[in-house]
Symmetry: C2
Subunit: 213 residues, 2 copies
């Protein structure tokens, strides 16, 4: 199995612009990538990115593939090239999942289905396992969970849904930082604490607060 992690550094995490500066968002994106790569330690990982990164930046010996395509095009090109090589299985892991651990990856890889989808909240696909990359293509953006179910069905592939709160937690919006602060233990979570973020309860609702000491 090959794991591929698509990663966009330029103007990363723009939906956090209301609470983080561009530099802070860049640091958060890099720290989340670090946490994700930690969970993938021991697996064969390709980092798929159009950003200039060195192996020093990510501190892992993963292979870095540069691509100027958009997310879908880059991943589908990757799947095609895997199919042409050995057609070994591929797992696509998003780079903004700082709560995942190697246990999730092993469990997903150990399932029997042709396609395993670990949903993200709001209709997303956070991890996608593809046993046979030939004939499959991805369609991220929008309700990709439904799109991937449909593509699998069209291919006659069996599907299993992997049920995990940690994997479903992608970090896109300010409210998502609540989950990272509460449930995280890696670099991305520590960075938020170092930046003065804390969980705050207002009118019974849980949000975040920033204390600029």
């Amino acid at each position: 199995m090959k794991i591929v992690v698509p990663f966009k550094r330029k103007n990363a995490k723009s939906r956090l612009a209301s609470i983080l500066t561009p530099d802070e968002r860049d640091t958060l994106a890099m720290n989340m990538l670090h946490d994700v790569m930690g969970a993938l330690d021991g697996f064969e990982v390709d980092l798929l990115t159009s950003s200039m990164l060195s192996n020093k930046d990510v501190d892992f010996s993963s292979c870095i593939l540069l691509s100027d395509y958009g997310l879908n095009e880059a991943l589908n090109e990757y799947l095609n090239s895997r199919a042409e090589q050995d057609n070994d299985s591929v797992m696509i892991v998003m780079a903004d999942l700082p709560l995942i651990s190697s246990k999730h990856i092993s469990e997903i890889a150990g399932l029997d289905a042709d396609i395993v989808i670990a949903p993200g909240k709001g209709g997303g696909t956070n991890i996608l396992y593809i046993k046979d990359p030939s004939g499959f293509h991805v369609d991220y953006y929008g309700a990709s969970f439904l799109d991937h179910l449909r593509i699998a069905r069209e291919n006659g592939a069996s599907v299993e849904i992997y049920d995990s709160f940690a994997v479903s937690t992608d970090i896109d919006e300010p409210d998502d930082l609540v989950e990272l602060l509460m449930h995280g233990s890696g670099k991305a979570s520590r960075m938020l604490t170092d930046y003065g973020f804390d969980v705050a309860v207002r009118d019974g609702r849980v949000g975040i607060d920033r204390n600029r000491a």
Copy 2:
């Protein structure tokens, strides 16, 4: 093990008032309760409610306990009375978890820890398993996940976190209906479809649309 489900019918799901009428919210709450009770079939269940419900309303032979207390007071009184009777373990299951199945309940009940917490998104506690009800108390509202961790620590109790996207999905706000439409298969999910709700993608974001035919 006893399972207790606290349920509030009066003005239920008020945060959905922007998209559902009071009658529709009542029906949704009752359908979610139905789905939850279905997942608990075969277990001993107490329904803890201040609303007048008959066993006909819930279509299950669970015991209905009336309580006029608030959520925390009612549950803590329940835990005390369990402790005084046989001190058998208690699982508290929220009534707005329409994606749960009996598999989740069995897995949680099968864990070894003194306390098992299945987090809800946004710092909540969606299922709480308490091996020894004497000496434990609950503190819902706000960041209850952190509160329950703290109470367990103060009691010297071992804790396990149960990681499930389905269990983490409580239905409180309009965006939560996306999850119910996409991942649900019970009465609550079918009701949304019958009411004309569908998943809609706008500017790459997934939300819901209502077609009033």
